[in-house]
Amino acid sequence: MSFLTMLPVWVLMTSFLAAMIIFMLPEHRHGLRTTINIVAALIKIAFIILLLRLVAQQYTPEVSFELLPGLYFVLKADALAMLFAGLSSILWLCTTIYAIGYLENSPNRSRFFGYFSLCVASTMGISLAGNLFTFLIFYELLTLSTYPLVVHRGTQQALNAGRIYLTYTLIGGLVLLLGVACVYAFVGDIAFGDTTKMAEFVAREPVSAAVIFLLLISGMAVKAALFPVHGWLPKAMVAPAPVSALLHAVAVVKAGAFGVIRVVYDVFGVALSWQQGYLFVLSIFASFTILYGSWRAIQQIDIKKRLAFSTVSQVSYILLGVTLLGPIGTIGGLVHLLHQGLMKVTLFFCAGNYAETLGIHKITELNGTGKRMPYTSIAFTVGALGMIGLPPIAGFISKWYLGTGALAANMQWVIWVLLASSLLNATYFLPLLHRIWFLPQKGPWPDEVSNQKKYRDAIPLLLIPTLITAGLSITAGLFAGSDFSPLSWVQLIVTREYQP
């Protein structure tokens, strides 16, 4: 095995080994820990770039070994895998820098960063998994490694949130386990992308196949926060801001959405799922979740809670895109996986900045923050406008493709869902922007950090990642036509998917 074929393993190992080393380091070695974190994140990005170039040249590195007789552990870097892996690796770097600033002078950093890296390792495993069994392993590992992050603060409230989070995700994991076990028992070990055996099975036993599809998708839906199993997500908001950013923008919800993509495209095949009517049912749930999430977001007065319900709504755009048969809708769904990640991470970083610098948690406290923290506020504005779908920010590209994809798939009603949701998005984001930029400050800030007076805005370690992700959100939209944009990578995936 050459270095290049083993690349998927190295990508996984960079964060896994980082996690192990960090666990072993004593709590007070902050400098060393930071160095290891950053270096590992940079190495990972280098590996990912290398892999992207290989995959673009039609080369698919793959590693597999026998875990149980006849059952293989497979890591495979195909084009779709690289989409998610690329997103996670970039946001890992940003979130790590942010977290270093955010947790400065707080206890338990060894534990936090250890699990944080482990969480990223699981995400990498999820993206690179080459069959359902491998996917399941990392899917469960993700549950385990995020729990300590959710309860990190150790308050009773955090523990309760952790319990709810676990209840949802473990039951979801169990349903997924059952689905995967059924696939292996009745259909056999099928690699992602090999849909022939499944097609035969669907023809032979349509009812069992539908049940298996239901089990798999329900298992994934819990993490993707699809209605009615979205309840954990707003509750998990008690976690520290970098965790919310990572959980909501990258790791957990995206793992669920990515799983749905894998099941639809690489286990059942999109044409088959469409033909069997699975996708129609899924599109109804996704559409409802889009509207429901936005509706609930409007009612929230806590910034992070509003963002959380916004996530519930936004992740379902990805699922909606998956259900639109035809390349254009698929592009819309897949590209939103990346775009939503960039924009939502920006928004959570901003929420963290407001909370850390001025102690702002409630929406009513935002008045006049534009003057006090202009850079954070600009980033927040970029994220919010992107979510609404304003060009040239990335969110516009996603919505454009979703809309045209819906027309191409002959599902005109989806257009109405998109329009209604954009309206609702505007309803819950524009008042915030109005407060930030146009309303005067109301009295003193709730909890202004006094020793930060020398900075006009949040401290650099918090501000820089925020600005980077905000910048990326604009760049991804502005240069969507270039060869290096997420959009063109997604087009590559979709070309390969729809070409036999």
């Binding site: 007789p69 300590p148 603060r153 059952l178 076990a181 292996y184 028992a185």
Partner: protein, 482 residues
């Protein structure tokens, strides 16, 4: 050479016991080290011999069957003796740092007798020999429980003694009846001669109930929580990881050797029902405990239930499904041995830290002793059956077997059990994350204690990656069976 090597697992610990009784206590640790090393080397040699040349049987002292004492090496025997070697070494190492000198002096002879008994059981090929092993096991295990030397430990030991003796009586009565009918107690000869008659049914009934009593299968389990939860930490680990496996091992041997024919389904379902109830009841009780070690003890009860599911799933209808059931069951047994020993040791360390036994005193420990919580957590992952771990692979195979035979009841119980076990393990976990204002006043266990716990937990996770090695031994044996 092989003749010597096959008897060494019995002779070495027996010698160890005698020497540790005779020589002054200050040599005990050195003796333990040398003999343990000898056992490990010997087990490795047996393993190599087995994988090169297949099963091997040896009749001791020149007596032929049915009178002679037969020892044999096959896949199950080799897997279980490797398992007890690893777990006992680590527990012995742990005990050396954990126990006080006075306790240690009494610990070693019992420890060696326990190991003699276990190895006798793994290697024996006839029912009477197994009985001798069981009796020796009972006495050494009860002795170890009584080492706790407080009122509760003594009461638990006494209760354990009565239950175990009752079990032995049942077993002895059964083999007497079998001998009267078939004229042999050698398992291989019995396997050929056996037919299900009234006498043999009664005999097997006595034996099964006796063995289930010793294994603490629901509803014959009441002695287990006080004995396992109340004794000294290294003893709890040995009991939960190894001792209950011995009587279960005999059950499994009988099940695989004797042709039950059409009755297999009924008997299997009956035992599965007990197992399923044990899973739910044990997990539920674990969830309701407030003492750390009691949770771990009740968790053993639930895990025994999983082992019992081998019987309904391994019932002669579909060879692939049978194989999956056996493989899954063996993996469950192995990973439970590693994980539960690791978990008890980790729990013992946490008790050293807090000096209290209840869960609420664990608050803040995940910050103070992260390595130890990590050890507890890793073992927990295997017990819950979450990937990647030996426990998950075992559960996966059991699920596959149930699916293949469309046995939905067992499937649902397996899945429900995982959820309940996750509930009680995360309950412990969440207490350690709680931050209270009380301030941290913790003792510090020695690093050796922490690393012992961690090593076993890590092994139970690694088993998830190297299960194929273990299962290859089993399939190797199946292929070579004449």
């Amino acid at each position: 050479m092989m003749g010597v090597a096959i008897s060494m697992p019995v002779i070495l610990p027996l010698l160890g016991a005698i020497i540790s009784l005779l020589l002054p206590a200050r040599y005990n640790n050195r003796i333990a080290f040398i003999f343990m090393l000898g056992l490990v080397v010997n087990a490795a040699w047996l393993l190599m011999h087995f994988s090169a040349q297949g099963p091997y049987q040896q009749v001791m002292g020149g007596w032929t069957l049915p009178l002679g004492i037969a020892l044999r090496i096959d896949a199950l025997a080799i897997i279980f003796s490797m398992m007890s070697c690893v777990v006992a070494s680590v527990c012995g190492f742990y005990a050396r740092f954990y126990l006080r000198a006075k306790q240690l002096k009494q610990f070693w002879p019992f420890f060696w007798f326990l190991l003699t008994a276990l190895n006798t059981i793994w290697l024996s090929a006839d029912l009477f020999n197994l009985y001798v092993g069981l009796e020796l096991l009972t006495f050494s295990a009860v002795g170890l429980v009584a080492l706790g030397q407080n009122k509760h430990a003594l009461a638990a030991a006494l209760r354990y003694l009565f239950a175990a003796l009752l079990g032995s009586m049942g077993y002895l009565l059964g083999i007497a009846l079998l001998y009267a009918q078939f004229g042999t107690l050698s398992l291989s000869q019995l396997s050929d001669a056996f037919s299900l008659t009234t006498t043999s049914a009664v005999a097997l009934g006595f034996m099964f109930i006796g063995l289930m009593m010793k294994t603490a299968v629901f509803p014959l389990h009441t002695w287990l929580p006080p004995a396992h939860g109340g004794s000294l930490t290294p003893v709890s680990a040995l009991l939960s990881a190894l001792v209950i496996k011995a009587s279960f091992y005999i059950l499994l041997r009988l099940w695989m050797a004797l042709p039950f024919g059409e009755n297999a389904f009924v008997i299997g379902s009956l035992m599965g029902t007990l197992g399923g109830t044990a899973i739910i009841w044990g997990s539920w009780m674990a969830l309701n405990q407030t003492q750390l070690k009691q949770i771990v003890a009740y968790s053993t009860l639930a895990q025994i239930g999983y082992f019992m599911l081998i019987f309904p799933l391994f019932s002669y209808s579909d060879p692939t499904a049978n194989q999956y059931a056996l493989h899954g069951g063996v993996l469950m047994l192995l990973s439970h041995a590693l994980a539960k020993a690791g978990m008890f040791l980790a729990a013992g360390n946490l008790l050293i830290c807090t000096n209290k036994t209840d869960l609420t005193s664990l608050a803040g420990l995940s910050r103070y002793r992260p390595l130890n919580i990590f050890a507890f957590g890793l073992a927990g992952v295997s017990i819950m059956g979450l990937p990647p771990s030996g426990g998950f692979n075992g559960k996966w195979l059991l699920v596959q077997s149930a699916l293949m035979q469309s046995k939905w009841v067992w499937l649902i119980i397996i899945l429900l059990g995982s959820l309940l076990s996750a509930a009680y393990i995360f309950k412990v976990f969440s207490y350690t994350y709680l931050e209270t204002k009380a301030g941290d006043k913790f003792e510090q266990p020695s690093a050796m204690l922490e690393w012992s716990a961690l090593s076993l937990s890590v092994l139970s996770i690694l088993l998830g990656f190297f299960s194929v090695w273990v299962l290859d031994l089993l399939t190797l044996a199946e292929m070579r069976m004449p």
